[in-house]
Amino acid sequence: MSLLLPLCGGLLIGLAAALLLVLDGRIAGISGIVGELFAPRSGEVAWRLAFLAGMLTVGAGAALLHPAVYGAASHPAAHLVLAGGLVGIGTRLANGCTSGHGVCGIPRGSVRSIVATGLFMAAAMVTVALAGGAA
């Protein structure tokens, strides 16, 4: 399987985050962009909604044109609600997720982001191993 498309997709993710930082001075961290909407402050809402609108527009477009990118159905609903709850609380406690800490934090040389990324990757790998693999 070719890794060229994933590489290009990754570069595009990085460029999207770069655009937001260089032009508007913001970090494209998805958990922070969503999570701070629960404690809205003036001047901190519109750009978040615009970013999420851009994401969801492309997401819905992909759902219409090429739904295979979303893969096969995975786990039972209750399992996924629990997993989502852990991700919601965890990313807010850690102040970042794969995008804010991984994509944006590590290239900025943030020690917090390097530690966070190492820990959530390790915890996820142990969880998958304990669950008996990816299948």
Binding site: I13, A17, G84
Partner: protein, 151 residues
């Protein structure tokens, strides 16, 4: 207005990158996390590419007083590694490993997969709970209050 268009475009390109790279499929993500099984390196390549694409912007932010279209950068202050960062990262990792979704891909997949919508409901519930607790404990903070973006 121009800045909102930048946000919209950034969100759209970010999503396009996630979809093109296959990260919207939780099975691809779980394949990467399954190091003891038939390991799939895709996520590592995507992360590497994303960091590479972001690196010039990181250098720009370090060397400039302000972004091109806004009065200031909104970066989290460099705070110490604290218990909240460690515990939060571990909880996030467990949830990520249980589902194969992290916040960005989950948002996109929720437009197509009921399972991702369930995950998103749980995630928003967790975030809402966090915001409520943070508001209730008021001034108590484990670290300097980090609100602007992540990291």
């Amino acid at each position: 207005m121009k800045r909102l268009l930048v946000s919209l475009l950034s969100g759209a390109l970010f999503a396009l990158g996630l979809a093109l790279s296959g990260m919207t499929d939780p099975h691809k993500v779980l394949g990467f996390l399954d190091i003891a099984g038939h390991w799939d390196p895709t996520l590592a390549v995507v992360m590497g590419g994303a960091m590479l694409g972001f690196l010039p912007a990181a250098r720009f932010a370090r060397g400039s007083r302000r972004p091109l279209l806004a009065p200031r950068f909104h970066l989290a202050p460099y705070a110490r590694v604290d218990l909240a960062l460690v515990m939060g990262s571990l909880l996030f990792g467990i949830g990520w490993g249980l589902a194969g979704y992290c916040p960005g891909p989950a948002l996109l997949a929720a437009t197509a997969r009921p399972g991702a919508l369930s995950f998103l409901a749980g995630m928003l519930g967790g975030m809402g709970l966090f915001a409520a607790v943070r508001a209730a404990v008021g001034r108590w903070q484990p670290a300097p209050r980090l609100q602007e973006g992540d990291a």
